[in-house]
């Protein structure tokens, strides 16, 4: 009897879990089938690897923004921080730093960027959207100023390993991305910090009155968000062995769109890293498919924008139901 009800409970949990992501999963499959018919190049090993690589840098950024959005905030500065970190990596390379040193530079840029975001929000009391729009402009400007608007090519064992390296025939980039998702996922579900992020996203007042240090948690969350951007810069650089100040420019909303498509509540407190992974998969397939079909670049942006609105609308309908 006991085991039977437990089994039933487990089944309910599984169906609930599948239910949460079912719509995204179905969308991914439908989109995959549609593109396979539309283009003979879509469902090929080479192209699927392409999608995987495309997903890597953006995917790591999406993992970071998942944390800030679960908190009930937003981080629009990530793409700029990624470009800034990329340029700093290039500078460090020219100064003779190599290997793990470059990794440290990239991560440090992220930590500093996130700390600045958190400082502006906590101390100056500016809301997350305006704060990160401001720092988005600032870090983008810094990237251009430091690089004097130029691209720097880079040849370094670490970057080459990231760009060309393979494990079991799969690119290092994908393994790194996978590792980031596992770390962020475990952090959200199995640490006190992660639980506090979700609690604050649910209700900042209730969290504060339950003795949670809202400002401290917020600071860590934004540092994680920006550190993911710093880390992503290495993957971006490794795609063409170039440090570019315009990296990710104009795609600032892509990861946020992917996260919302993955079912994360825009108001925070609800969602998971699995949703983000699925949302990112959907978004990457869409971008890749549209390019394969040689769709106009501007029309692609139009589709992405409309999709973001649709995803937010679905979120509103969903929260109204509760």
């Amino acid at each position: 009897m006991e085991s039977k009800s437990r089994l039933k409970h487990t089944l309910e949990l599984v169906s609930h879990g599948v239910g949460t992501y079912a719509s995204v999963l179905i969308a991914v499959i439908v989109l995959g089938i549609a593109f396979s018919f539309a283009s003979p190049y879509f469902f090929t090993v080479a192209n699927l690897k392409n999608i995987g690589v495309y997903m890597s840098a953006s995917g790591i950024i999406a993992a970071g923004v998942t944390v800030s959005m679960l908190l009930g905030g937003l981080d629009l500065s990530q793409m700029s921080i990624m470009a800034f970190a990329g340029v700093m990596v290039g500078m460090a390379h020219q100064a003779g730093i190599s290997g793990v040193g470059l990794l440290l530079v990239a991560v440090l840029c992220g930590v500093v960027g996130g700390a600045i975001n958190a400082f502006v929000m906590n101390v100056l009391g500016i809301d997350p959207i305006l704060t990160t729009i401001g720092t988005q402009l600032i870090f983008r400007a810094l990237a251009y100023m430091i690089s004097k608007g130029q691209y720097y090519s880079i040849s370094d064992p670490l970057i080459t390993w990231i760009g060309r390296g393979k494990l079991f025939g799969i690119s290092t980039m994908i393994w790194i991305t996978l590792a980031v998702y596992i770390i962020v996922g475990v952090m959200l579900k199995y640490t006190q910090f992660g639980r506090n992020v979700i609690t604050i996203g649910g209700s900042p007042q209730a969290a504060y009155l339950s003795g949670i240090s809202v400002k401290k948690t917020k600071t860590f969350a934004y540092i994680i968000s920006a550190t993911c951007a710093g880390l992503a810069s290495l993957l971006f650089v490794a795609q063409a062995y170039t440090c570019a100040p315009n990296a990710g420019s104009g795609n600032d909303m892509d990861c946020i769109a992917a996260v919302v498509i993955g079912g994360l509540s825009v108001s925070g407190g609800k969602g998971s890293i699995i949703g983000t992974a699925l949302g990112m998969l959907f978004f990457s397939m869409l971008a890749n498919g549209m390019s394969l079909l040689s769709m106009d670049v501007y029309a692609q942006k139009l589709v992405k924008g409309a999709l973001l609105l649709l995803a937010v609308y679905i979120d509103i309908v969903r929260s109204r139901k509760n």
Binding site: H9, Y190, T191, Q192, R195, N196, I198, T199, G202, S203, Q205, A206, A207, Y208, L209, S210, G211, I212, S213, G269, K270, N322
Partner: protein, 500 residues
């Protein structure tokens, strides 16, 4: 007798599980001031909302301008010249006085644009009527004092052909000079044949202004008297007499040493608030809405800043800056707003129960989810929280079960001082009794409880000692046989002879 401006006949208002108004009659005539008096929850605000069209009565009729209505819409109320001035003023701060007076009612030119010239002129006249002639109509609202803003609201009603003005505790934020000015304007409006319904707890004001006095209690109109025949004692007595309907399962307890001592808590609002509570004691803090009792415990919990004063826990002076620190000192707090401050409504029973003590449910840096589930099941059993599962979303539970979760999450932290801010609001009777029982158990185990209540019978039922707040000050302390309705109500409305 003068003309009847508005009449309410047999008004009932029912909310799920509560009767807010129970067969209330009210008449307001031209050129009179009717004072409406009553304790928290007596039904005053519900009545105002029905008169100004915000609520629809469940039964009964309103007679306005000789016509019978089942209900009024806010638009109709405005058109009939019924205006309500609430405690929370309704001004647009970025606009001028004139623009506020003629909000959504601006004079127009033939072309349909706002006729500013006419508006400044008309505003000047309206300002004269309420004694604001010394200010330019173009003055921006945010430069005005509270009293002046209130007068602008009166002027706004005035230019719309005012007939009945309802004023909800209009003097609560005014100084004596401003009060006198307001009285002059009220008397002037009365002389012009307007009807004024004046809600106040202050008997001095009531006797100063009113022609008639009507007392509400438990949603019924219990006493109506001409002001010249009324006595203070009769009014206070008629405000009392709420029955002790619920069960109060509290027992005799041993009182221990003083755990919490508050000395001279002061800021812009609180004035020299001092109280203490012992282990095993239930201390009640009572007062009418906005009297400062809730603010006092919020200050103790670090959820509200105060300017000066000392707080000691177990004899040690502490400086509590935030709730986190308070929790660490063994203080627990149940906020009044269960749905926004007490709970994460969209999250599960389990994560709501563990939110305070999550730090104790770790193995290294990782959360011990199995221990968390055990802990949740434990509290669900102990407080008999009715929930299908530990991972049920709390928004689907009843108010009583939700409140039990808020209490349980703090019980898990083994508090020495438990601060409760109106914990039984919106909770059904059965769950109320269980909450009282739990509080009693808690006290027996040596915890000290400070209980802020909006319902007086509740405190009479469970408190060992009661402090009564009035306008940010403690106006009386009662214990043992002095804890009576009459003593407490008199003290809460600011009568001094009743307090200590």
């Amino acid at each position: 007798m003068s003309e009847i401006l508005m009449k309410l006949e047999g008004i009932y208002k029912r909310f799920p599980g509560v009767i807010a108004l129970d067969n209330v009659n009210l008449t307001i005539r031209a050129g009179e001031v009717l004072a409406l008096v009553g304790e928290n929850g007596a039904g005053k605000s519900t009545l105002i909302k029905i008169m100004s069209g915000a609520y629809t009565p469940s039964e009964g009729a309103l007679y306005v301008a000789g016509q019978k209505y089942e209900k009024l819409t806010p638009g109709e109320a405005l058109r009939f010249g019924i205006a309500a001035i609430h405690q929370e003023l309704n001004n647009v701060n970025g606009l001028s006085i004139a623009e506020n007076i003629f909000l959504n009612n601006q004079p127009r030119t033939k072309a349909g644009m706002v006729d500013y010239k006419a508006m400044w002129e008309a505003s000047r006249k309206a300002q004269e009527a309420v004694g604001l002639q010394y200010l330019s109509p173009k003055t921006l609202m945010h430069r005005l004092s509270t009293a002046e803003k209130q007068l602008v609201e009166i002027a706004r009603a005035y230019v719309r052909d005012l007939k009945v003005m309802i004023m909800d505790e209009p003097t609560s934020a005014l100084n004596q000079e401003e009060i006198n000015k307001l009285y002059t304007i009220i008397r002037q409006l009365r002389a012009e044949g307007k009807g004024i319904i004046y809600i106040s707890h202050k008997l001095d004001e009531v006797f100063e202004l009113a022609d008639r006095i009507q007392v509400l209690r438990n949603g019924s109109s219990v006493y109506e008297v001409d002001a010249k025949d009324a006595t203070r004692d009769a009014i206070i007595t008629s405000m009392c007499g709420r029955e002790l309907k619920d069960m109060y399962p509290v027992s005799k307890r041993e009182l221990g040493e003083v755990v919490l001592e508050v000395e001279g808590l002061s800021d812009d609002f609180l004035q020299d608030v001092s109280f203490h509570v012992r282990r095993g004691e239930i201390l009640g803090l009572y007062g009418l809405m906005g009297c400062g009792n809730a603010e006092a415990i919020q200050s103790v919990f670090g959820a509200r800043r105060y300017k000066s004063g000392e707080i000691s826990i177990k004899g040690k002076r502490v400086d509590i800056k935030n709730p986190r620190q308070a929790a660490g000192l063994g203080i627990a707090y149940v906020p009044a707003e269960r749905k926004t401050e007490g709970l994460i409504l969209g999250h599960t029973v389990r994560s709501n129960l563990s939110v305070v003590t999550l730090g104790q449910l770790r193995r290294g840096i990782f959360l011990d989810l199995a221990a968390e589930a055990r802990m949740a099941r434990d509290w669900i059993n102990r407080l008999r929280i009715k929930t299908p599962r530990t991972d049920t979303v709390v928004s689907t539970l009843s108010g009583g079960n939700q409140q039990k979760i808020v209490i349980a999450k703090w019980l898990a932290n083994k508090p020495d001082v438990f601060l409760l801010n109106d914990p039984t609001r919106g909770v059904d009777v059965g769950a109320k009794v269980e909450i009282y029982k739990e509080i009693d158990e808690l006290c027996k185990a040596g915890c000290a409880v400070v209980y802020v209540a909006s319902e007086l019978p509740e405190l009479l039922g469970i408190a060992d000692r009661v402090y009564v707040f009035h306008e940010g000050k403690i106006n009386g302390e009662f214990s043992g046989s002095e804890v009576t309705q009459k003593n407490i109500i008199a003290s809460a409305i600011g009568e001094e002879s009743y307090g200590k």
